[in-house]
């Protein structure tokens, strides 16, 4: 997939953070982060543990309000919006630690996302089982994410790999323009990881993706561009090749890993 990279002028930033700061009671976790995500790209965020990757996700998706700075999505300032507003703006996210509805079936899990997508929130006049469109759409998504066979199994009873699929599926079912995946392959074996990466590629076709990932093979096979986060600040942004050859990145992070 060839595209213009990193020269700002010709491509459109769908998501941008401007001088983003965040601290927890004096502990600086994010420090002057200026992330730029172009429309349609797959953008990986890498960095050692504690670099602030998940915090960056949490600040962007509304878990926390940043201490300072702005978050711009599609030219709109979404700084300080709550998680539900962020989703309605068109940003979906998945979680590093599986965060599904464990006591509901896979079908019911996805159905909630479908309700959200259709904007059905306070409907108390129709039986949900009689809403054909909702059921068909849910089944379609279940087939699409490869969980149709498991539709009547409770999410908490799925195998780990399937739970991860459901986790990503929940983020994608609301049909967001920007998908933020927090370590989608966390805890997977080599084979599972390979399958998961192929799946993510297939499912996010045509969408903008921001992904946190530790596995460098995954990062280099998935990402169009990479941002390296280190001690809460951006060390470098660029194509996989640029990042691989960047001396500062090598010193801080990659070198240690490839030895």
């Amino acid at each position: 997939m060839d595209r213009k990279k990193g020269d700002g002028g010709t491509s459109v930033n769908i998501l941008e953070t401007k001088r983003l700061f965040h601290d927890f009671k004096g502990l600086k976790v994010l420090f002057d982060v200026n992330l730029q995500v172009e429309e349609g790209e797959r953008h990986a965020i890498i960095g050692p543990n504690g670099a602030g990757k998940t915090t960056l996700f949490n600040v962007i998706t509304g878990t926390y309000t940043p201490s300072d700075g702005a978050i711009i999505f599609k030219n709109r300032d979404i700084t300080g919006a709550g998680p539900y507003e962020i989703l309605r703006h068109g940003i979906g996210r998945s979680f590093q630690i599986t965060n599904t509805f464990r006591d509901m079936t896979t079908f019911q899990n996805i159905r909630l996302a479908v309700l959200s997508k259709k904007g059905i929130r306070f409907n108390i006049f129709h039986k949900i089982d009689k809403m054909r469109e909702i059921k068909e759409e849910t089944d379609r998504i279940l087939k699409w994410i490869g969980l149709y066979e498991e539709r009547d199994i409770h999410a908490g009873k799925l195998s780990y790999g399937k739970q991860r699929s459901l986790e990503i599926g929940l983020a994608l079912s609301t049909d967001p323009e920007l998908v933020m995946l927090d370590e989608p392959t966390a805890g997977m074996s080599k084979d599972e990881t390979h399958d998961a990466v192929e799946k993510i590629k297939r499912l996010t076709e045509g969408k903008t993706v921001v992904v946190i990932e530790h596995d460098m093979d995954v990062v280099f096979s998935l990402a169009d561009r990479i941002t390296v986060l280190h001690h809460g600040t951006i060390l470098a942004t660029g194509s996989p090749r640029e990042i691989r050859e960047n001396q500062r990145v090598k010193d801080a992070y990659l070198g240690a890993m490839e030895d």
């Binding site: 539900y84 965060n99 929130r121 409907n123 039986k127 929940l170």
Partner: protein
């Protein structure tokens, strides 16, 4: 269960209830109404506990609001018809919930439970102390129970126990059906999502606090209906049996013993306690002692309640049946 069986059962239930007062007499008709009031109260409670995952130790405030709302309206408004009196009870409870929901919809777990214990106690003391309004410990009694009349067509005398039985069964049945319907709607699914994982519900584009507030108000309205029916049925309302702490625990007992995981669990629980209390009160006044023991046994041995037990047995029987079939089919 297929459609025919469902309609058949519904029809049988209808016939049973139609004949009930004539077969079992006034005493057991009143027994049934008492049970149905507790059942609706418990069902309203389970909208919070079983469906939304909110444990409340003070659901009696809404029962009391409904009961006192109807009783006070009937006492002070001359010629108030029956249905408006009922609606006043329901709206009193819903209004109380509307006042409380900005606070309580933002909390959960222990905070939700303890806040309600406090609210319940405040209401109990207020009912006792505001004597000139509530009649204090004596409560309000002897107000006129209006007839159910559609002018020019029919008029049912509600002081006639048989007429009242039919009225109560229809209204309480309607209340339970509405609550059941609510759980089957998209909204009913979203509250289950909140019970399961409220944080993810937020990330999926639903507003958690308003959703909880709405289910809270509905739950209160149904509890208010139960309280209002109680006031009409007893022709009196007092602090004891409406807003006291023991009464706040009645729906909790029924829900846990019946099974919170099913819509019909609380109804089963209400039935179990109705029968149990009827039987134990013939031998001893210490009804609560027996109720408490039953609760402990259920929590220790069948934590999913009566419905859970039924499901377990059904599953066992089903798997046995499948095994048998498999054996027979072997060549």
């Amino acid at each position: 269960m297929n459609r025919k069986v469902k309609w058949g059962l519904l029809g049988a239930g209808f016939v049973f209830l139609a004949l009930y007062p004539h077969v079992f007499g006034i005493y057991f008709s009143n027994f049934f109404i008492t049970f149905a009031i507790v059942a609706l109260f418990a069902v309203s409670y389970n909208l919070l506990l079983g469906y939304t995952g909110l444990l409340s130790f003070g659901h009696a405030i809404f029962f009391g609001a409904g009961g006192y709302g109807t009783a006070l309206a009937l006492e002070h408004i001359k010629g108030l018809p029956l249905i408006p009196a009922l609606l006043i009870g329901i709206f009193s409870a819903a209004f109380l919930a509307l006042i409380l929901c900005p606070i309580v919809a933002r909390v959960k777990d222990a905070a939700f439970a303890m806040l309600h214990l406090a609210f319940n106690y405040i209401m109990y003391v207020m009912v006792l102390k505001l004597r000139n309004i509530t009649g204090g410990e004596d409560g309000i009694a002897g107000y006129n129970i209006p007839s159910l009349s559609i002018p020019g067509i029919v008029c049912f005398d509600m002081t006639n126990p048989v007429s009242f039985f039919y009225f109560a069964v229809v209204i309480l049945g309607l209340g339970i059906w509405l609550a059941w319907f609510l759980t089957k709607t998209p909204f009913g699914q979203i509250i289950v999502g909140i019970r399961d994982n409220d944080m993810r519900v937020d990330y999926m584009g639903f507003r958690v606090v308003p959703t909880k507030a709405v289910v809270y108000i509905f739950s209160a309205a149904f509890a208010g209906l139960a309280g209002s029916m109680s006031a009409l049925f007893q022709n009196m309302i007092a602090a004891e049996g409406s807003v006291d702490i023991a009464h706040a625990f009645q729906p909790i007992l029924a829900t846990i013993v019946g099974g919170a995981s099913s819509f019909f669990g609380p109804i089963a629980g209400a039935g179990i306690f109705a029968i149990l209390e009827e039987l134990t009160s013939r031998f001893t006044e210490r009804v609560e002692l027996v109720n408490g023991i039953v609760l402990i046994v259920v929590i220790m041995y069948f934590p999913s309640g009566f419905i859970g037990l039924v499901r377990f047995i059904r599953k066992k029987m089903l798997s046995k049946w499948i095994e048998k079939r498999a054996m027979e089919e072997l060549p």
